[in-house]
Symmetry: C2
Subunit: 220 residues, 2 copies
């Protein structure tokens, strides 16, 4: 792999594991066994590394939120949307973790992220509209708007919530379960809008996703 790509990948991993604040450019370089000079040959500064990682993420999400044009949405689509989005959220979790700071120090990034947010919100709305067209949910436009916004906030805040409020180590198994719990919480948000024929089947489908959450919250 090219040095530049190795830097991006290593940075992403280190940022995710330790938080952007705790990872210096020297750390990244020595982690890769290269010199700081080398790193700065490929990137103007730390911000640019972050910016390039962000571009990767943005591109991925833009693809993942596409609505199929050749067929109506089915309920399983919704589950898949959530699964891939949550996976992406996990793979780039440092971005949302330190988002406020990252946007504060980089005006270009802030503007770009803002456009991204609006695009996402529009896509989320399209998805919900599609589900309404398929008679899976029933809601007014206004309800869909606030539902979409709440979904966005919840989704982008989920790992932050997990990390701060649940004393969970970053071991894979428990984290993965709590990722599923995030999906469950989103379904809880939508549940009241499901049409009669879908309410119970969907509830049953996602029921088990929420169990791990109950354990963590009530026991400790």
């Amino acid at each position: 792999m090219k040095t530049r790509d190795r830097i991006i990948q290593a940075s992403k991993e280190l940022f995710n594991e330790q938080g952007e604040r705790n990872v210096t450019t020297n750390h990244i370089a020595s982690h890769l066994g290269i010199s700081p000079g080398n790193l700065y040959y490929h990137f103007k500064n730390k911000q640019q590394i972050i910016f390039d990682i962000y571009l990767e993420y943005e591109k991925q999400v833009d693809q993942q939120l596409q609505v199929p044009l050749d067929r109506p949405l089915i309920i399983n689509d919704k589950l898949i949307y959530l699964q891939v989005i949550f996976q992406g959220l996990w793979d780039y979790r440092f971005l949302h973790r330190d988002l406020q700071h990252l946007l504060d120090i980089d005006e270009d990034l802030h503007k770009r992220y803002n456009d991204f947010f609006k695009r996402c919100l529009a896509q989320v709305h399209s998805i919900y509209s599609g589900l309404r067209d398929s008679k899976i949910i029933d809601a007014t436009d206004q309800e869909l708007r606030s539902l979409g916004l709440n979904t966005w906030i919840l989704v982008t805040s989920w790992f932050g919530f997990m990390h701060t409020n649940l004393l969970v180590e970053e071991g894979q198994e428990e984290s993965r379960e709590l990722l599923n719990a995030g999906i469950y919480q989103i379904f809880a948000l939508e549940r009241p809008f499901l049409t009669d024929e879908y309410r119970d089947p969907v509830s049953n489908m996602v029921f088990k996703l929420g169990e791990s959450l109950d354990n963590v919250i009530s026991l400790k």
Copy 2:
């Protein structure tokens, strides 16, 4: 005012305005016109300042979430809960802004915050139960649990969302309106569970709170 209290107050303000990461102990001292030595006479380190500010916040919220024992809950209680909680969130907004980092560097704070979170969640549940007893909302226990959790996440993430996703300056007027928009979003979460006699009156009551949000999101 005692020097110690002045340090706490100034720190809180500076942290809120600039983020904990961007405010050094030397900044705090020079902002108050005192020496660093003086600051460190009153506080062991920066963490302890943060910890003490947190204690203030925790105490305040614990009081605000009390459920009245001598009377049933009415719908206006819910609005007041949200208003005081959001105001507190604003007054201590740096806490949630940098929460992940603050908890990472201070294990005691993390444990304490965890207990606090569980206490809050229980209180939120009590409030929703009270509203159910008053026939204002209708929902199963499980629905109340996930509703309560979603409320918590939404409330604690609201200012972060505002700051990152809406290009809003910290001028008072617009921020205050968007604080109200946060309240509107919470009501949107609860709306499906309102009983028939409350659904329309409540919707009308909070309708105007959401308008500013529509403007910000759709226009820019």
